[in-house]
Assembly symmetry: C2
Homo-oligomer: 146 residues x 2
């Protein structure tokens, strides 16, 4: 079978289906390096009792075990447009390309464009009333960099 | 000793120091629930070969083992203003309050305000030339939600 975007996305979908069967959010992700799948994952937030255990994050963690934390030249395939956490995780992991399947029509928590993504996440943060405050023991924290 | 913001931030700083001693980025985080520290962590990106292993993410994971993925009424103390990944992770984890020490003067990758945070992360994403494309097997991905 030819390994094209559709091929890899199917593998991600397979992961999503595994998750769905187990009663988890139907989101799957795979990471590809040199045309080979190096990690596969589905959302395991509830299974692992870990709010960060989105499919993409787990896939990044698994890939890191093989290649180290820097996943240059790797491509992520994910069934749903990544949230801002996962997008930023891809940034830190140096993921080169992201291909996703469904956009935010699948759920209002997901985003269509970078501009929308910014405004949506920020308004969501506001809705949740996360409070952010800085400067507590600022100098001692700054000293850590000396 | 009185358990105030300074007290908890010192605990976070202690974590950062452990990391620093081991040669890792000097960033520490703790999570507090009902005035008790329920998790402590430092950045372990290189140790765990995991680009997502920021102090905040590890602290959220550890806290989840105790309380489940929903960390309502928990407070995060972190020595450095959280990046967008960690901020979004806090959002997903329902973290109620975040207190941080140093702002982005400690490193240009960190942000000062929500508005700056948006623009900085997006320009960084652009600098890294992450490519994002949607619609690959869109319908099959959408089907997962039926």
């Amino acid at each position: 079978m030819k390994k094209n975007h559709q091929y890899f996305m199917r593998m991600a979908i397979n992961q999503a289906k595994i998750g769905k069967k187990l009663g988890y959010p139907p989101i799957g992700a795979i990471i590809v390096n040199k045309n080979k799948i190096i990690s596969q994952a589905y959302n395991q937030k509830d299974q692992l009792k870990d709010a960060t255990a989105h499919a993409e994050i787990i896939a990044i963690r698994k890939a890191g075990k093989l290649l180290g934390p820097n996943l240059k030249k790797c491509t992520l395939y994910v069934t749903l447009k990544p949230c801002l956490m996962c997008l930023t995780a891809c940034y830190w992991a140096h993921i080169e390309k992201i291909y996703y399947g469904a956009g935010r029509e699948a759920g209002k928590k997901y985003f269509e464009t970078k501009k929308e993504l910014e405004s949506i996440i920020l308004s969501d943060l506001n809705l949740r009333k996360i409070k952010i405050k800085g400067g507590v023991l600022k100098n001692e924290c700054l000293k850590l960099y000396r």
